[in-house]
Symmetry: C2
Subunit: 170 residues, 2 copies
Amino acid sequence: MYLYNGNRLKIEKKTVNLPNGREMEGIIVHPNNAVAVLPIQDGYCYLIRQYRFAIESYIFEVPAGACEPGEDPLNTAHRELIEETGLAAGRIIPCGYIYTTPGYTTEKIWLYTALDLSPSSAYQMDTDEIIELHRFFIPDVQKMIDSGMIMDAKTICLFHQYMRKNHEPE
Amino acid sequence: MYLYNGNRLKIEKKTVNLPNGREMEGIIVHPNNAVAVLPIQDGYCYLIRQYRFAIESYIFEVPAGACEPGEDPLNTAHRELIEETGLAAGRIIPCGYIYTTPGYTTEKIWLYTALDLSPSSAYQMDTDEIIELHRFFIPDVQKMIDSGMIMDAKTICLFHQYMRKNHEPE
């Protein structure tokens, strides 16, 4: 049974069968799958500072957004990067995925690094989003994570995946 | 207006005032705040392999759980560690916090490292949870993250916070 059935988020109440034979009533939050993209150029990366109404504050994050129904996450990554930063990527490299909160949501976020950036002619800001674009020296992003100035889970996971892959032979 | 008002999760539909003066209708998921705990001993750490009905699979995670109303997250960390692993911690060190998905949920997870571990006499497994305890050499956990075998966001964030702090002078 759906308690809420919106375009981007569905809330389901259902009886869940556990592998141990027990049953329980579970609440499951179904957002669309989503992507997060770390744009990198010349030793710098771009983050956005975005107002998030759920936590009633601005936070630093990588560009990110939900997949449209049926949309390939790689295409979402290209699209969201342009929508949120005005930058188009020549290359987008997959960096795996994360489950944000598997205790109650199906949400999976696909992680990408975006390279070969250039200004996009297709840039048009979504009017429901309040976003500033910022450019940081990569070691400073590590310091912002260490100090707690960046506390967005997808951003921390993706940044560390990038740092790991970037310091190892391909 | 609450679309759902459960013990551990509330779903709210409300008109949100944005800093740019616009209004929009927002869906906000309010779980209780939660903690995640990385138990470390002698160069090894403990992870649990847990069945998560939302994603219908088992995943590796750090021990974690929701704060009871009014509970200090540090106490939640001690309690959840015992409930999920049977281990009591002599010391629990704060490692900041993350927002799991600030696009639609208020959820904040406090991160901790647990040290000086010993078997707890208070151990009693929650019957609604399906959990196995596993012990890994710390470099192997890094490999499990690199390879995508660990894809739980709080686990990845906490492990990296631990690795950063553990390799720097206190």
